[in-house]
Subunit: 208 residues, 4 copies
DNA sequence: TATGAATGAGCTTTCATTCAT
DNA sequence: GATGAATGAAAGCTCATTCAT
């Protein structure tokens, strides 16, 4: 029953199986959420779609709310993390760095368009999904620091306020595309316009 | 619609009473929504707050969903109409008109902060509240037309695209304030920053 | 549609209908409780037996626990109240009063034997049903007062302790009959033995 | 069952281990029951406390009900056996024997107060715990025989009836203490009062 | 045998909706 | 029309029990 050399594990190690179940459930949650919206999403349906029992769902998540939070969190965490990490910390001009970050952001949404549309359309607290907010917040701080570092090149601004304005503005331009005009995401002019928006906002004002 | 001599019947038993009941119900819905959030908002509670019976509610609205939609639509319609009508069609510079419109928008949200927070936090498909979207769309078109009319003063842009970018950007800066930093709504610099954002974006680029 | 003299109320007055629903539900609860025991008693089943919807049940009782408590309370309250009120406050000797009370108690259980058997067999906290306890407690106090009033005729005792002992002893002799030997309840010697028990306990001890 | 020279196998792999597991489980059940009450007692929790798996529990008991019954039975059996065996069959007067037995009973409950309270408060069919009833019944029979044996010293009674009355009365005085006034269990007067109760009941009536 | 992850029937409770009055 | 008691489908969650490993 055991051979000297084992090729397949006798049984899945504990953690691996758990992780797989968690993933299966979160995938199912994301799918059901997208298909039916928050109000119509039930734990029983998620479990059914995941191909497991409700009992199992509750073995891994203490409540419906916790599981939905985890599902959204995972999706957003994976993606949005990348966006704010793309601009190489030391490479290129401010505009070039911005361009890289914006492209990454747009690609993030474009690559998972259906999911994001579903979630943004159906899930309440649009801008509130916690992970999204956390990353947006982190983005603001990074931008604020960049503004401080490069303040010599820029119009005098309150870095905090400016970062807030810029991040919010860009966030919603892109999300509005996702929601209303997905084809715009493929328009190369979109990035340029956003750069113009930010660039114009930060550019030193010409003297009187 | 009003004339010095009244031609309408002394009492309008049917329609007037109906309209009043509808208003009462919609007000109650808005209030409950604002106070308790979507999840705790029930038709029975709305009727109770309105001082009528649930039965009456269903006389005027076919379902809970329909009634909440109507309530939100009316709220947004009333407010957003004002916002886009504030800039006097012919008065002042572009920047002045913009300033007036932005102030009106900010005041709109600030004047009913708790309600808008509740709605934006809890109501699914925020991005889809039809009246909101419709008016945002109308706003885009008005802005596009203004951009075309004043294109001589501005950097060359695709008016459609630029209007889209500007309206989306401003929308979310303000809504993010509503959701996350309400105190910013009272900061006079907010309007100025938004004007800087739009102004910088549209300003003719200095030559090479 | 209305005649000068009305013979049947146009509709049941509010309170009467409510009270009837409450009664119907409590009757059903008592029945289901008796038939299935506490653990197997569900609110849905109670409602079904009562011929109303679960929703109605929850209109009148805030929770399952509250409704079961009310059901048992009502039954016990009605009956046990009588027992401790039977002994005419001023009539007859102590033994005669006791005899009356004991007969009333026995008759109480005998008259509703099936219900009491069901409840005592199935419901947890046998001796804990709150109403039962409350009345037992009241009984103890009345007995204590009687013992104090008649202390001259009795062996010197701590009235509190003696009342406790007597009431508990009698309570369980009768309840054990209910549970295990219902036929004994019809044995006239039972009352005599209980009187002997109490009488012997309280009788002045013969001198050494 | 134990002899100086051991004849049983050095290790009893099968039965001994089984018996130990059963004991562990029953101990755990009793403990959980005492600590959490019936409603919060789950098979999984019992297994966890016992340090074995639920699967093992079901190897030894066909159902939760069966296991709890076994647990309570064992507990009562152990305790009550002692109580009824305490009065040395041939030693001392009737009153002395009674006093020994009563003290043993009181000590039994006092020694495990929390458990007995939990069980009496929460376990359905208290009156039906089989071991308790069986031993109470045995106690009645022993008392009946004693009454017959000593009938010369006593008031003429139906021994069966008298034993029933006495055992029930005493049972509930003690259990009521357990449930409502645990501190009374430590009052030395309690035993004396119970002896007075029984003694007065059985004492030959003076008189003409 | 022992394990404990997985199962899923079934419970309590809510609330949109109806309809007799 | 207006009322609000009554309805009952359906939700979230638990836990006795099973069975692959």
């Amino acid at each position: 029953m055991t051979s000297p050399i084992r090729h397949t594990p006798r049984k899945q190690p504990r953690q691996a199986r758990s992780q797989q179940m968690v993933d299966t459930l979160l995938d199912a949650a994301v799918r059901v959420l997208g298909e039916r919206g928050l109000e119509a999403t039930t734990t029983n349906e998620i479990a059914r779609v995941a191909g497991v029992s409700v009992g199992s769902l509750y073995q891994y998540f203490p409540s419906k709310e916790a599981m939905l939070a985890a599902a959204l969190d995972r999706k957003f965490t994976r993606g949005i993390e990348r966006v704010f990490e793309v601009p190489a910390p030391d490479g290129g001009s401010f505009a070039e760095q911005m361009r890289d970050g914006l492209r990454a952001a747009i690609d993030l949404y474009r690559g998972d368009l259906e999911f994001f549309r579903a979630v943004l359309l159906h899930v309440p607290r649009v801008g509130r999904v916690e992970a999204l907010r956390a990353h947006v917040h982190a983005g603001r701080e990074r931008l604020r620091d960049a503004l401080i570092a490069r303040s010599a090149e820029l119009r005098p601004v309150d870095p905090e306020l400016a970062a807030f304005v810029i991040v919010s503005a860009i966030e919603w331009v892109i999300l509005t595309c996702v929601l209303e005009q997905p084809e715009r995401l493929s328009d190369p002019r979109l990035v340029e316009e956003l750069i113009a928006l930010v660039g114009g906002y930060l550019a030193p004002r010409p003297g009187p």
